[in-house]
Structure formats: C-alpha cells, structure tokens
Amino acid sequence: MTHNVQTITHPAVVCRRVTKDFGAGENQVRVLRGVDLDVPFGGMTLLVGPSGCGKTTLLSVVAGLLNASGGEVTVLGEDSRRMSGGEAVRFRRRNIGFVFQQYNLLPALTAAENAAVPLLAAGVPKKKAVAAASDLLSQLGLGERLHALPSQLSGGQQQRVALARALVHGPRLVVCDEPTSALDHETGNAVMELLTNIAVRPDRAVVVVTHDSRVFQFADRIAHMDDGRIVETSGAGSRPFEPVFAGVN
C-alpha cells in the first residue's frame, strides 16, 4: 500500500465563534458560547476541561453529529452548514473515525467483523472488509483474537477493536470521546500509545476529549475549555510522534 503523504498547511478543523443551544424559549441552554479552535493535521489535539464545559458537545459539532446554532465550522475543508443531512452522513462515513468511551461494539459480531463495520457500511464486500480489518487488528496486537466476541475481550482489547474500527477506512479525522475513562491506568496508557503511533500521521488529525490528565503527555496540542469556550491552548506534549502508516487507502 502506498500513502499519499503530503505537507498540509491548512487546519483539519476550523471553528469560529461556534455556538450551540439546546431547548427553546425559557428552557434554552447555551452550551457552546463562541468557540474558536483550529485542529491541525499530523498531530493529536486534546480537548480538556471540567465536566459540563461543553467538550463533548463541541466534539459532536466537529464530527457532524450535531449542527452548530451559530458560527462557522469547517471540517476537512468543507463547511458543515452547507451540507444536507445525507451529504453529512456520507461525509462522516468517508472521512471521520470514531472512538467512543464505552466502545459501542456490536456484541454479536467478532472483533474482526466489528472493526470492518465502516467498510461494510461503505459497501465493501464482507470478505474484503474483514480481511482489511484483520490486518489492522494484527498491527494493534489482536491477531490472535480476531474471532473473539466483545464479551470475550478485556476492556483494553475492546478499545483496540474500536480503534481499528475508527481507522480501517482511512479517515482523515479521528474523534475520540474519553477513550481511556473506562480503562485502568496501564491499559489506558497502552491505548493512547497505539493511538499516537498508529492513528496520528501527517494527513490525519486526531481529536481526543478527555478529563484524564494522565494522557496529556501524548498530546501535541491541548485546548482547555471552560464554560463553553476555549480559554487556553497550549503547545506540544513531551512525546515526539512516530507515525506508522495503516488502514485501507
């Protein structure tokens, strides 16, 4: 496989004065209060802040799962406000990978089948999709567990399957919501190492929402949120990243 490595100067995600309201009238709650954020390619950006500050809401807006109430959101060069519902779904399917806090694996599918779901959703034949997923899982150290069901895997192993699912279709943006909160320290560290070494590459941006300070060391950038705003953005973390190319292009 060859990879289209290129020097990318524009950010993967650009948010300008982004607001998000829930409810209406007297019950309306403004969760995002004018967020300005750039997420560059080629690194891991953490979104950190206290509970209820709007991290997950911002992540949902960036990932296209929620529409912003105001402001501009540009993801991979596309203005999300200009996309219809169907276009947004197709855009997500092609370009975005998700890692959820609770893994959200399908309990009836094996590890390889779970990891293959984005390719199956894109219409790739099952055999080819599962083969690609199996390759990726082997790189993630789960080569012996391809046929295991999620109930037969540990938390760390399930999160690695979820990581494979997020990467198997070669997305340009990976969003992770509290990927280590359900894991112990050692397992969480292992998952973050994999995320850094395999997910991060020059033509991909990784955004991680977390309140776990133990993972700050893996970040290239940290955006601090409070009360619906980005209050501070700090620079690279202590680890240099070593991109390992993976996925189906």
Binding site: R92, I96, L106, L109
Partner: protein, 379 residues
C-alpha cells in the same frame, strides 16, 4: 450491512427465539382455527358433496339450507322431469330417524333415501359391499362412523341388523362419508324404504336431483326449472354455499372462531412488537454508533425490516408446519376427518404474519430514526 443485521438479531438468542415463538404460536393458532372453522363450515355441505351423480338440486323455495327441508309433493318430480333441458330427475329423501342396536345403544342418524330404480345419489366410496346391494330386502348402507358406534371394536361384516322405527334393517354396505356437521352416522336406503323409517307425513319428498342434458349448462337448466315450476333449483356448489351462508349468518360459530383468530393476531403482534422494541432499546447505543459511523437512516430501516422479515419467515414456517402436521397426524381419526389446511388459509395467514412483523418493527424503526447519533458520546 445485511450481515450485521442478521448477526445482531441471532446474537441475542433469548429475544430471537422469543420473537420466533411469538410468530410461530400466532401462525399456528390463526391457521389452525381457520382450518377448523373452514372444515366445520364445509361439513355443513357433506351430504351435498357426497352425491356425485347429480349436479342440480331442486327444492321448495322456503328451504334455506340442507338440514332443514320443507317437503315437496310427489308430483314435483314429474313436473321437473317435464322441463326442457332436464336429462333425468329423481327423488331424494333426507330425514333423521333413530337407529337402535339390539344391545339398546341408539343414535339419531341422517337417513338418505335414493331413487329405487336408479339408486342415483347412493355412495360410491364403499369399504365393503356395493351400491347395488341397496336393492336387497331391508337393505341399508352405513358409514364407518355409524358402524363403529353400533359395533365398537368389531370387524367390518355385512349382514348385521339394526332397528329403525320398529323396522328391522340389514347392513349391506359400509362406506366412507364426508363428516356431517352434526357428526351423526349417515345411512342410505332406497327411497320407498327410507320413508317408512320416519314418522308419516303427507309429503316427505325432500329434494329432486337433476342432471342437465348434454350441451346445456347447469345454471341454464336451473333457471328453466325455476321458471317452469316455481321451485328453487341450484347447482350442488350453489346449494353448498347457500347452506354455509345460513350457518354463518345464524349461528355463533363465525364469531367464536373470529374472536379466537383475532386474539391470536393481537397477541402475536403485541408480543412480537414488545420483544422487538426491547431488542431495539437494548441495542440503541449500537444503532447510535452505526448512525455516527455513517450508516444512513434508510440503511438502518432496511436492517430492521430484514430482521423482522427473517423472524416472520422462520416463525411462519414453523407455525404452518405445526398446523399441517396436526391435521396430517389426525387425518386417520374418524371424528376429525375432512379437516384440510387449504392453501388459501396458508396464504392468508402468511399475509397476516407479514402485517404482524411489519407492525412490530414500526415502533423500533421510529425509535431508531429519531435517535440522535450524538447520544453515543454521552457515556
């Protein structure tokens, strides 16, 4: 994604089997009760069907159905014979005398009296003896139900005697009859003999059996008979349906069966719907993840419909197989003879099952369609 849909369904074994059981039970109950109902209604026409020699029945206009007959006059046979288009016409008697065995056992029986000269209308499916044996003195033909009632556990033998209205009769034939509605034994005798086995009335002729001349339709001959004589004439099929309609309109049988079938339909829908909905609720996070990953609403709807159809097909197959097996196993039982799973009932039940699974999946589809994919980010 069809693979994913199927795996999601069969991966939850308890709900999968619960859904199949609900559909199978509902299918079995609906098809079984529909078959019993159709069979019972069909039984009201048994004696009409068993007469294969003639296809036109002539009767008094006041006669509404087979089991309650207003007698014709003896002259009516000749009047009918005189109608152009009638090949031949013979009398037929139907009554309900009481037959008694010499051990005291008795039963009311259906007595059919066929034309002395031609024996038109006599049964043709005999186990022992022949229709011609009706010409013997005091001869009767008895169906298997009647013989086994009066002579239980005894081999079929001709020559045994019974008493009918103080008359001694001799069994000269044993035949297979279609099960009557009232499940009474069926006897055949010559017309002149049959009249002596019941109480005397001025008129005893029940029906005139007619055959149309070659080249004329039965309907045309019926019309001519009606116009010429003022009597009612109907084909065997028409008279059969007329009898069925009478029972449908004047008894509680359709309502009773209808209630049972409706309950089966409702229970099937509710149980399947509830189980399906619970299955969806338990997989809501997974559906949310699929929506987040980029599976469209149309695709997810298709997945749920596939799951519903799969459950419907398997449950229906099991239920219909159970019904068919039941009637296959019991077909040798004399009391249950004649019940057949008609293809129309199987097809109709299939359509209802399709409705059940579609209705059951609707709530689930709606729940998933309104699901915000962002819910998967809420832990």
């Amino acid at each position: 994604m069809n693979f994913v849909a199927v795996q999601m369904l069969i991966g939850d074994r308890a709900k999968y089997l619960g859904l199949i059981f609900a559909v199978a039970f509902s299918t079995f109950l609906m098809s079984h009760q529909s078959t019993i109902f159709a069979g019972i209604m069909d039984r009201t026409t048994s004696q009409i069907k068993d007469i294969k020699d003639a296809s036109i029945w002539v009767m008094d206009p006041k006669t509404q159905y087979f089991d309650e007959v207003k007698a014709l006059t003896d002259d009516d046979v000749y009047r009918v014979r005189g109608v152009p288009g009638v090949e031949w016409a013979v009398p037929l008697f139907k009554g309900l005398p009481r037959a008694k065995a010499f051990d005291g056992n008795f039963r009311v029986v259906i007595m059919m009296g066929v034309d002395d000269a031609t024996l038109v209308g006599a049964p043709r499916d005999l186990v022992l003896g022949s229709p011609e044996d009706l010409r013997k003195p005091d001869a009767v033909l008895v169906d298997r139900v009647g013989y086994e009632f009066f002579f239980p556990k005894q081999p079929y033998v001709l020559g045994r005697t019974l008493e009918l209205n103080d008359h001694r009769v001799t069994i000269q034939g044993i035949f297979n009859s279609s099960a009557p509605f009232q499940n009474l034994p069926v006897f055949y005798a010559r017309y002149s003999q049959a009249l002596t086995y019941v109480g005397r009335e001025r008129n005893l002729l029940s029906f005139v059996l007619v055959k149309a001349q070659r080249g004329l339709s039965d309907s045309e001959v019926c019309r001519r008979i009606g116009a010429a004589t003022g009597l009612d004439a109907a084909t065997s099929q028409e008279f059969g349906w007329q009898t069925i309609r009478y029972y449908v309109a004047h008894t509680g049988i359709p309502v009773n069966f209808g209630i049972t079938i409706a309950i089966a339909l409702m229970v099937g829908t509710i149980v399947a719907g509830q189980t399906f909905y619970i299955f969806t609720l338990e997989n809501l996070k997974q559906f949310g993840a699929l929506k987040a990953i980029g599976v469209t609403n149309w695709r997810i709807t298709g997945m749920i419909l596939l799951q519903a159809l799969m459950v419907g097909a398997i449950g229906y197959s099991i239920g219909i197989a159970m019904t068919a097996a039941f009637f296959e196993i019991t077909k040798g039982n004399l009391d249950l003879r004649g019940f057949v799973l008609f293809w129309q009932i199987a097809a109709g039940t299939g359509a209802v099952v399709l409705f059940i699974v579609m209705a059951a999946s609707l709530m689930s589809i709606r729940r998933v369609l309104v699901l915000e994919p962002a819910v998967v980010f809420r832990g």
